[in-house]
C-alpha cells in the first residue's frame, strides 16, 4: 500500500474539522477528550507514526461509539425492548450494539469485526503473531473508519435533533 498516513489524513476532512454535535453539551468532558485525541491522531498520522496512529485510532473509535450509544440509550431501548448503557463493556460489544441497532440508519457504514483485532495490536503478542504489514493496515483503516464514522454521525445528529 503506497498511500501514506499523511496522504490519507489529508483526505480525511472530518478528522480535521470534527462536528461532534451528536454529543450533547452536558457530556462536555466526552467531547474534550475526543477532540484532544483527534488532534493527536492527526498529528501522529501526519508524521507517519503507524503504531501511535493505530492505538489512538482505536481509542477514538471506542470513545465515539461509547458516547453515541450513551446518548442514544433511549433509542436503543425503544428498538430492543430494554437497554441500559454499560460503560464497562468492550469495544466489541459497542460495535455489536451499533451494527445491530443502528445498521439500518447507516447502511453505508459497516464497522467490521477486524477493527477490534486492529485495536488489540496494543498487546505486543498480538503484533508478534501478525503479518508484518498489520500495523500499517490497522493505522490506515482506523484512520479512514474514524473519519467516516464522524462524518456519518454528524449528519445523523443534524437529522435526529
Amino acid at each position: 500500500m503506497i498511500d501514506t498516513l499523511k496522504s490519507i489524513c489529508e483526505q480525511c476532512t472530518h478528522l480535521k474539522n470534527p462536528q461532534l454535535d451528536f454529543i450533547p453539551a452536558e457530556l462536555s468532558r466526552h467531547k474534550e477528550i475526543i477532540l484532544r485525541d483527534l488532534r493527536e491522531l492527526v498529528s501522529v498520522a501526519s508524521n507517519g507514526h503507524e503504531k501511535a496512529c493505530a492505538m489512538i485510532g482505536g481509542c477514538v473509535l471506542e470513545a465515539i461509539l461509547f458516547s453515541f450509544l450513551q446518548v442514544q440509550e433511549r433509542r436503543v431501548a425503544e428498538r430492543r425492548g430494554r437497554f441500559i448503557f454499560d460503560p464497562e463493556q468492550s469495544l466489541q460489544n459497542y460495535l455489536d450494539i451499533f451494527n445491530k441497532w443502528f445498521g439500518r440508519d447507516f447502511p453505508n457504514l459497516q464497522l467490521l469485526d477486524i477493527l477490534v483485532d486492529y485495536r488489540n495490536l496494543v498487546h505486543f503478542n498480538n503484533e508478534l503473531n501478525s503479518p508484518t504489514d498489520e500495523c500499517s493496515k490497522a493505522a490506515s483503516t482506523l484512520l479512514r473508519v474514524v473519519d467516516a464514522l464522524i462524518g456519518e454521525l454528524a449528519a445523523y445528529g443534524r437529522i435526529a435533533r
Binding site: R80, G81, N99, Q110, L112, D117, P131
Partner: protein
C-alpha cells in the same frame, strides 16, 4: 400474512423485553475463570413452557438452588461452554430481574453443559436434545468456539454458500521474493479481511467476477459499496492505478482488475443478508501465479 390489526403487539413487546433481559443476563454470565461461553439459546418460548419436561439426559446436581425447590423456570436457556467434556446437563434457576436485585420469580431455567458433550449427544442421541430446538432462538454465539454440526443444528448461518475468505496483499509486498507459502504462513491464524462469492468464472478459471463481502457481527455480509470505498486501502490503491491482490485461504492468488457497483436484486439469493438498496460491489479478478520458490 396476518394484517397489522391481527398482530398481538403486547405479546411482541413482552417477548422483546424478555429477550433483552436474557441477552443482558448472558452478557454478564461467566461460566468460570477458564471456560468461555460459546452458545446461549432461548428455547420453548411458547407461553406455559415453564413446566420442566423430562429429557432423559443424565442430570448433574443443580447448583445455585436448594434441594427440593421447585424446578420450574418461566424462561428456558441452554448454555454451552468450552472446556473439558461434561457428563450431563446441569440446571439451575436464576431470577430474570437479577440486575434489579430481585430474587423472586420469574426465573430463568438454565441448562448448562459443554460444547463437546452437546456435540456428542447431537451425533449419537439426537432425540435426547430435541427439546432444545423447540421454538428456539439463538441469543448469543461465538462461532469459533462451536463445531459446524452445532452451528447447523441451530441454523446459525454466518456465511453464504461458496464464500472464499481472502487477505489483501498490497503490491509493495508482492514481488519482493514472497511465495504463496510465505504469504499464507504470515497470515495463519489471522482473520481474513474480506470474502468473495463468485458470480461468474471463465472456463479456464483464469478470470472471475465476485461479490465482495466483509465480516460484521460474526457474519459475512455483502460489502456496502460506499463503506468499502471509505475504509479500504486496497480499493484506494486500485483507484490510484496501483495493482492490488487477494490471497485466498486455499492458496489461490488474484489480481484485482476492477470494481463495479451494480444493481442486482437477483443476488439476494447468493448472500445471507441482501443490501437494502440491492446495490452490490462486484470485483473482477484475474488469477496470477507467483513463483513457487523465493527468488535467489
Amino acid at each position: 400474512m396476518a394484517g397489522l390489526a391481527q398482530v398481538d403487539w403486547q405479546l411482541l413487546a413482552n417477548e422483546a423485553q424478555v429477550r433483552a433481559l436474557l441477552e443482558d443476563f448472558v452478557s454478564y454470565y461467566t461460566p468460570s475463570a477458564v471456560n468461555q461461553l460459546a452458545l446461549a439459546v432461548w428455547f420453548e418460548k411458547s407461553p406455559g413452557a415453564g413446566e420442566r419436561k423430562q429429557s432423559g439426559l443424565p442430570r448433574m446436581p443443580r447448583f445455585g438452588m436448594p434441594e427440593g425447590s421447585p424446578a420450574t423456570g418461566e424462561h428456558k436457556l441452554l448454555v454451552l461452554i468450552t472446556g473439558p467434556e461434561m457428563s450431563g446437563i446441569g440446571s439451575e434457576l436464576r431470577p430474570l430481574f437479577w440486575k434489579a436485585g430481585l430474587e423472586g420469580p420469574p426465573f430463568i431455567e438454565i441448562h448448562r453443559t459443554s460444547v463437546a458433550f452437546f456435540a456428542e449427544q447431537l451425533r449419537s442421541n439426537p432425540a435426547v436434545v430435541q427439546q432444545f430446538f423447540r421454538n428456539a432462538e439463538v441469543i448469543y454465539f461465538q462461532k469459533r468456539l462451536l463445531s459446524p454440526d452445532i452451528l447447523d443444528a441451530f441454523r446459525i448461518v454466518t456465511e453464504p454458500w461458496n464464500l472464499i475468505k481472502v487477505w489483501c496483499v498490497y503490491h509493495d509486498q508482492y514481488g519482493t521474493g514472497q511465495t504463496i507459502q510465505t504469504l499464507l504462513a504470515s497470515r495463519a491464524g489471522r482473520r481474513p479481511e474480506v470474502g468473495i462469492v463468485k458470480t461468474w468464472e471463465s472456463p479456464d478459471f483464469g478470470t472471475c467476477k465476485a461479490i465482495l463481502h466483509v465480516e460484521v457481527g460474526q457474519q459475512w455480509r455483502p460489502a456496502s459499496p460506499e463503506g468499502i470505498m471509505q475504509s479500504s486501502g486496497f480499493y484506494s490503491d486500485w483507484l490510484n492505478g496501483r495493482p492490488c491482490y487477494l490471497l485466498a485461504e486455499g492458496g489461490a492468488f488474484y489480481q484485482v482488475d476492477k470494481f463495479e457497483v451494480i444493481y442486482a436484486p437477483e443476488y439476494s439469493s447468493r448472500v445471507i443478508e441482501r443490501r437494502p438498496d440491492d446495490r452490490y460491489l462486484e470485483v473482477y479478478l484475474r488469477a496470477v501465479h507467483p513463483p513457487e520458490e523465493p527468488a535467489a
